[in-house]
């Protein structure tokens, strides 16, 4: 048959079209397969990589958290010891100032435990081997009495033993027991004539030490009664120079309460080392961690990993390491306590830290498995569609022309390029195909998948973070922070007080405090440390102790003076512009006079007879920022039945989901509505109102309030 030119050309076009289509199809299939293989391989490597990364990340996070928490715990113990230190300095100072004329009150006569029954909070006297006369000791007892009782009220630890041991051998002591009517139970050895202050281990230790003007941590010793004692002591002077040793001690088991209250798991083992590597306290006192081996230095432990860790611990380092002890692997985290080389260690089962990390790795892998399955589905979709596309292409090549093919292959190329990018980890890649056909549908499907992938990654980060935080017990840090604040409030006929702090998720921030300075002077404080996190939490603890010690020590010279000195000390310790806004006041419960210093804090509200007033502010900046600021005090007479509410900006600046603030106005309104309520009711009322306002929004700042009601002296 003869073909005309047109037919020939048509045939030629048909054949070349067919060949082109076949070639195109082959390239397409090949490209698609390659893309799939690459993607499959990459997804696998990626899964492995990301899961390893997640495991490492969560372990690192957990370790970091644990180290931060151990630092915070160490500070907690340091706080207990720090208060003891502060008390010892105050008392030693006071004794040194005693002169013949300074004793006005001579009503107290120390008891003789050999003949009298002695109760908690009473002075008693042991004459020593020289049978020394109690005259000078009686002067001391009279002079120190009020101060000592105030100081002991401010300490949570019970029992507390105050002792003074003279160079003449006598001892003057006071035991503060859990209940006021508890009897002092002295061991027989203390009641004999041989019992002499100069033989006590604390006496010898302090007298032999080079440092004479600061408290020393006495190495662990057994008291005459046999229990292990922690003691802080320093010399005191009379007009002729050093005259003896004064100190305070607690059974080391008291410290364990401070430590174990916050231990997140009973299987954890915590222990305390002194600067000589002696185990002062241990929650599992066996083998190397036994506490009754005062000649054993943990740095010489037969367990090498433990000995090495002890080395770092006594060197004052913070860190974590893996040790093998008690036939198991443990994470040992440690941090220094105080200034004299003590260190707190905590052994946490290795598995406990590792398991969640592994679990996260597992989670990641299963996420990826799902993604891989999803990809496979999409790809088989792509294959089917490309087959159809191919047939369509063939037809279209024959029927229409090649531009269409170009258009088609472009969509598929875009798709396959996009897939490649995504498989390389670029999850933000969006495929833009607007062909209005199945390719566009497929691209949409792909875009949806990358979005899912992005969400997975976000979820993963969040899960990892949350898991790690749970592992490391972030809540523990907040608990510790809360545990440092006094609890229970004050209820008496003249004055009642209640306080509350709702910490935001992160530690740091606010604190409050309240304590009696003597029978009629009640001090209370509210404060807000700039910023949050562990450094702020530590600054919070430190500034609280400093302020309390300064007020205890220097209140007699005026509250403003005490705050000025506290600011100087805080400023030396704060770094990087950290500061704390403080409102602190002392209420004379006999007269209703309130003296206060406002260091850059928001003014408290005074409610009386439905009238509402903000306490006038003086011009004083926040504490801890700069030394040498002279603080000024103000005063106001409280009428009976007034209620004073101290608060932090966490209350008025609590935000709802629309970022609107709770505001002073709302607080004023609820306060007026609450009327004549008790401190507890007032705080609860405001708290509930804030919670209602905030709704589901995340709490971003600590919410802290102290309410004081002055009832006045009635009748």
């Amino acid at each position: 048959m003869k073909l005309d030119i047109r037919r020939k050309i048509l045939l030629l076009m048909g054949i070349s079209g067919l060949i082109t289509a076949l070639l195109l199809g082959a390239i397409l299939t090949l490209g698609l397969n390659t893309a799939y293989d690459t993607l499959d391989k990459q997804a696998f490597t990626m899964a492995q990589g990301v899961s390893d990364e997640a495991v490492n990340y969560s372990q690192k996070l957990a370790r970091k958290r644990l180290e931060n928490i151990i630092r915070l715990k160490a500070y907690h113990i340091n706080e207990v010891i720090g208060e003891m230190e502060g008390n010892v300095i105050i008392l030693s100072d006071k004794i040194s100032q005693i002169s013949d004329t300074s004793i006005k009150n001579k009503s107290i006569i120390p008891k003789d435990p050999r003949t009298d029954t002695v109760y908690s909070g009473e002075w008693y006297y042991l004459p020593g081997a020289d049978d020394y006369s109690p005259q000078y000791a009686t002067d001391i007892a009279n002079d120190l009495n009020a101060t000592l009782h105030n100081l002991s009220k401010g300490e949570k630890a019970r029992p507390l033993y105050f002792y003074i041991g003279s160079e003449n051998g006598w001892s003057l002591r006071m035991d503060i027991l859990p209940n006021d009517n508890d009897k002092v139970n002295l061991p027989q050895a203390a009641l004999t004539r041989d019992y002499d202050a100069r033989d006590r281990s604390w006496y010898k230790y302090v007298m032999q030490a080079e440092i004479k003007n600061a408290p020393l941590y006495v190495p662990l010793y057994s008291s005459a009664g046999g229990s292990a004692m922690l003691s802080i002591a320093m010399p005191y002077k009379d007009k002729d120079g050093i005259a003896g040793v004064l100190g305070v001690s607690i059974p080391s088991s008291t410290l364990s309460a401070a430590m174990e209250d916050n231990t997140r798991d009973k299987s954890d083992i915590s222990f305390l080392l002194d600067s000589q590597g002696h185990v002062i306290y241990s929650s599992l006192p066996v083998e190397d961690l036994a506490t009754d081996r005062s000649d054993f230095d943990l740095r010489n432990s037969g367990i090498e990993s433990l000995a090495q860790a002890a080395q770092s611990m006594t060197a004052g380092e913070t860190g974590s390491t893996v040790v093998d002890i008690y036939e198991d692997s443990y994470f040992l985290v440690y941090a220094p306590v105080g200034s004299q080389g003590w260190s707190l260690g905590e052994l946490i089962s290795y598995n406990e830290v590792q398991e969640p990390a592994d679990y996260i790795g597992y989670l990641v892998k299963s996420e990826f498995k799902e993604i891989q399955n999803e990809l496979q589905l999409v790809f088989s979709g792509v294959r089917t569609i490309s087959l159809i596309a191919f047939i369509l292409l063939l037809i279209s090549i024959i029927l229409v022309s090649r531009p269409m093919a170009g258009h088609f292959s472009k969509s598929i190329r875009t798709l396959s390029e996009g897939v490649k990018h995504i498989s390389e980890g670029n999850f933000s890649e969006e495929l833009s195909i607007n062909s209005g056909d199945e390719m566009e549908l497929l691209a949409d499907r792909f875009n949806a998948m990358t979005k899912d992938l992005n969400k997975y990654m976000d979820d993963l980060t969040r899960v990892t973070q949350e898991q790690a935080e749970v592992t490391a017990g972030l809540d523990v840090a907040t608990k510790i922070q809360k545990g440092m604040l006094p609890e229970g409030g004050i209820t008496s006929s003249i004055v009642s007080l209640d306080a509350d702090m709702q910490p935001a998720i992160e530690v740091g921030g606010d604190f409050y405090d309240y304590y009696y300075l003597d029978d009629t002077h009640l001090a209370f404080t509210i404060a807000d440390v700039s910023d949050k996190g562990i450094p702020s939490a530590i600054f919070m603890v430190v500034s609280r102790i400093i302020l309390k010690n300064c007020i205890n020590l220097y209140y007699q010279d005026g509250l403003a003076n005490a705050v000025t000195l506290a600011n100087d000390q805080c400023s030396q310790l704060s770094n990087d512009g950290m500061f704390v806004t403080v409102w602190t006041g002392v209420l004379n419960t006999a007269t209703g006079e309130l003296i206060y210093v406002n260091a850059g804090h928001n003014a408290p509200v005074l409610l009386h007879d439905k009238e509402l007033l903000y306490l006038p502010k003086g011009k004083c900046p926040m504490m801890g920022f700069m030394e040498g600021i002279e603080y000024k005090q103000q005063s106001i007479m409280l009428k009976p039945d007034s209620l004073l509410l101290l608060y932090t900006d966490g209350v008025t600046e609590a935000m709802n989901e629309n970022k609107e603030m709770y505001s002073k106005e709302r607080m004023e309104e609820i306060l007026k509505g609450l009327g004549d309520s008790s401190p507890k009711e007032t705080i609860n009322g405001v708290r509930q109102d804030v919670a209602k306002f905030v709704g589901k929004a995340k709490q971003s700042d600590d919410i802290t309030m102290v309410a004081v009601k002055y009832n006045g002296i009635k009748g």
Binding site: D528, V529, S530, D531, K532, D576, G577, M578, F579, T581, G600, H601, N602, A603, K617, K619, C620, P621, M622, F625, M626, I629, D649, E653, S700, D701
Partner: protein, 109 residues
């Protein structure tokens, strides 16, 4: 950065750092480093807070740190234009005792 806009302009020999939006915990570090950069290059710096609607204690810390740094480096630093809530907060903490504060950037000497 989220919630905050920072720009710097020169006025009467002062480098004026204009902050607009919210200065809070989330962006305090970022603002701090930007501001310190500006301060490093300037002899006199002013922070214009007229466009600021919220400041948290972390934000105050940024300003205090700048004040401390300017003092250490022998430079001048003023805060201007604080208004409304921000002014209230700064007054609450008696910032004016630590840093010079003026009403508006127009009052710069």
């Amino acid at each position: 950065m989220e919630d905050i806009n920072i720009s710097v302009e020169e006025k009467k020999g002062w480098s004026v750092l204009l902050l607009q939006g919210r200065l809070d915990r989330v962006n305090a570090e970022y603002v701090g480093s930007k501001a310190e950069e500006t301060m490093a290059a300037a002899a006199k710096m002013a922070a214009d807070l007229s466009g600021l609607e919220y400041i948290s204690s972390a934000g105050i810390r940024v300003l205090l740190r700048l004040a401390k740094k300017s003092k250490a480096d022998g430079k001048e630093f003023v805060i201007c234009g604080a208004d409304g809530f921000v002014k209230e907060i700064l007054e609450d903490s008696n910032m004016d005792m630590l840093v010079t504060m003026i009403n508006s950037v127009e009052q710069l000497p």
